[in-house]
């Protein structure tokens, strides 16, 4: 079973009267448990592709299935439910809720998206903070954490609901080199520990080398399809 399967995928945006193609008929598939990188320069379509896989946007043409679900067929509410049930997100700017502590940020999807019972919720948060090495920072607010710590909290949050898939859009762009590697290493560790598929986008060639499967994008086209790095 393919976790993600795209066939002839198209997506365009309108800029005034002009239609700008972002994705131009690409095909790819992603196996469960993979650590996949989409690489390419700015404007190559990486983020658009992640948005499509993450059910944040809909393709204009072609077919995209995630977990055997045709994401184009999901309406707004169903897409939100699908994301809440199956997909975790990690953002370039961490996007933690500033009024919540690290533990509460991790707890947020369990409480506001999936409504886990309190005991189970607390255990899951403790497990994840331990796994990302932030058990001792649980009570700190985002403004009391470093960039790397914030992104580790974001990784824990993305994994909170035990999603099949985690999408990370330029997760290391705002981190220094060492921290960036530690985050990718953490993602690998989490993949190994929880069996979650990680897809991330990056334009950093050093980080790309950490991925197991790499798709290179340029002008909305795949120029290197699924090359296995390791």
């Amino acid at each position: 079973m393919k976790l993600v399967k795209a066939e002839g995928l198209h997506k365009s945006y309108r800029a005034g009267d002009v239609e700008v193609p972002a994705i131009r008929g690409i095909d790819f598939s992603i196996e469960p448990g993979a650590l996949v990188a989409f690489v390419g320069p700015s404007g190559s379509g990486k983020s658009t592709l992640l948005n499509l896989i993450g059910c944040l946007d809909k393709p204009d043409g072609g077919r995209l299935s995630v977990l055997d679900t045709d994401v184009a067929a999901l309406d707004r509410r169903a897409a939100a439910d699908f994301r809440g049930a199956h997909i975790g997100f990690i953002f370039q700017d961490f996007n933690l809720l500033p009024v919540l502590s690290a533990a509460e940020n991790v707890e947020y999807p369990l409480l506001m998206v999936q409504a886990w019972p309190p005991e189970k919720r607390r255990a899951r948060v403790a497990e994840l903070l331990e796994a990302v090495g932030l058990a001792d920072q649980a009570g700190k607010r985002p403004d009391q954490l470093s960039g790397g710590q914030k992104q580790r909290v974001a990784v824990a949050r993305a994994l909170a609901t035990q999603p099949k898939l985690v999408l990370a859009d330029e997760p290391t762009a705002n981190l220094d080199h060492d921290t960036a590697f530690r985050i990718i290493a953490l993602m690998k560790k989490m993949r190994d520990e929880f069996g979650t598929t990680f897809i991330f986008s990056t334009h950093d060639p050093k980080i790309v080398g950490e991925a197991e499967v790499v798709y290179s994008l340029e002008d909305g086209r795949l120029i290197d399809q699924g090359g296995t790095v390791r």
């Binding site: 509410r77 997100f89 996007n95 009024v99």
Partner: protein, 414 residues
């Protein structure tokens, strides 16, 4: 839901100064409204109480046409003994009626043997009048009560007249009145007491015993000019009026019309218009409160949504249902209203308590009315309810906008 509220509270605390300012504005509005309700209510209640408890009663029954000519106090429009008996029977059978008092009203000349002046008088059955008008005895500033109110051969006269005529308690005066047949009769009376003037019809009337009034007027039959009725409360007014009107409607005059009329105190006293103006002002100030809360909360919530677009994008992206995002922002607006309501109500109650510790006196006509403001739980709950409802309405549009926001657009927002 408690977590939504907790998160909403934290978001409000995050913009502490703005939250404080907005809540302060709501608090100010609530204090203004509740204090106005308390003070204006106290003023209105005091004046209405005086009118109904010492002069008019809650309802009055007259022969048809009497009220239209009441300035002349016409003796030819008195109720007949049969009508009075019927009115009494009906009133005795009504649960809402606490007491009723028949009166003979007439105009007379009062002489202290050196000067003469006109006076409006009420002939009353003292025991009945004292029960029906419990505030009347309290208006006696000189002399005292006897026989329930006034003794045979004695008079209660208004303060201004006593001062103007230079008569005191115990002095003898002569009353001269024109009888129904046009003849004039005079009798001497002793001043039993002096009544403080009160604003409104009957506020400067004198009182004497019904039998004395009938003797002075050489009234052969026990006619009365009006029957003043005391009810269990103002709340029973409309129901009692309708019931009484219905019960008396069978009595017809030769023209085939209802022979008797039933009037509420509102129809007889000009203060009813002032009371209506106070109610109107009360409404205006509530509308202003609605405006204050609407603008303040809407402004804050629109700002909150605008400033947290990326945050909204994040929570939407990770799967927060639109309904929960809506609930989150609605809760913020409602919390603002709730905090304002609680603090505003507490401050208002404290202010009302303080006003009762050092009472405020206001002049109304020649009277000094001591205000005793109070706030009914219903008023506080109603104003609080209005604020919360308006806060919810004001938050709805920004909350709806947040819930409908496209996650991608929101996440791209700088």
């Amino acid at each position: 839901m408690s977590r939504v509220i907790k998160l909403a509270a934290r978001n409000l605390a995050r913009y502490g100064r703005r939250t404080l300012l907005t809540s302060g504005l709501i608090v100010l509005g609530i204090v203004a409204v509740l204090l106005f309700i308390a003070v204006s209510g106290a003023f209105k209640g005091a004046v209405i109480g005086q009118i109904t408890d010492s002069m008019l009663g809650h309802l009055q029954v007259h022969r048809k046409g009497y009220v239209a000519s009441i300035d002349n106090l016409p003796l030819n429009l008195n109720m007949t003994p049969v009508q009075v008996t019927k009115v009494g029977q009906v009133l005795d059978g009504m649960d809402e009626v606490v007491a009723w008092s028949p009166r003979v009203k007439f105009g007379a000349m009062l002489s202290n043997f050196t000067e003469t002046t006109s006076i409006r008088l009420n002939g009353v059955i003292p025991e009945r009048e004292a029960i029906a008008m419990p505030g009347l005895a309290e208006r006696i500033v000189q002399g005292g009560v006897a026989n329930g109110l006034v003794e045979r051969g004695k008079l209660l006269i208004p303060e201004l007249l006593a001062r103007g005529m230079k008569v005191n308690v115990g002095d003898t005066v002569v009353l001269v009145a024109t009888n129904l047949d046009g003849s004039v009769n005079g009798m001497t009376f002793e001043i039993q007491g002096v009544l403080a003037s009160a604003t409104g019809p009957g506020g400067r009337d004198g009182y004497l015993h019904m039998e004395d009034a009938r003797a002075l007027l050489r009234m052969e039959a026990p006619e009365v000019s009006e029957v003043a009725v005391r009810l269990s409360g103002l709340g029973a007014l409309e129901k009692a009026q309708a019931k009484l009107q219905r019960a008396l409607s069978e009595m017809r005059n030769p023209e085939g019309e209802a022979a008797l009329e039933v009037h509420t105190w509102e129809a007889l006293s000009p203060f009813a218009n002032i009371a209506r103006m106070i109610d109107l002002l009360d409404l205006f100030i509530r509308v202003m409160l609605v405006g204050i809360v609407l603008i303040a909360v809407m402004n804050v919530m629109m700002m909150a949504v605008y400033e947290r677009i990326r945050e909204i994008g994040t929570i939407a992206a990770i799967g927060t249902p639109p309904g929960r995002i809506l609930a989150l922002f609605l809760s913020e607006g409602l919390l603002l209203g709730l905090v304002g309501t609680l603090v505003g109500s507490a401050l208002s109650l404290a202010a009302v308590f303080a006003l009762n510790l050092s009472p405020v006196t206001v002049a109304f006509g020649r009277e000094q009315i001591v205000l005793a403001p109070s706030l009914a739980a219903g008023d506080v709950l109603l104003v609080g309810g209005i604020v919360l409802a308006v806060a919810a309405i004001a938050s709805l549009q920004p909350a709806w906008k947040a819930a409908r926001m496209d996650p991608i657009t929101a996440l791209r927002h700088v």
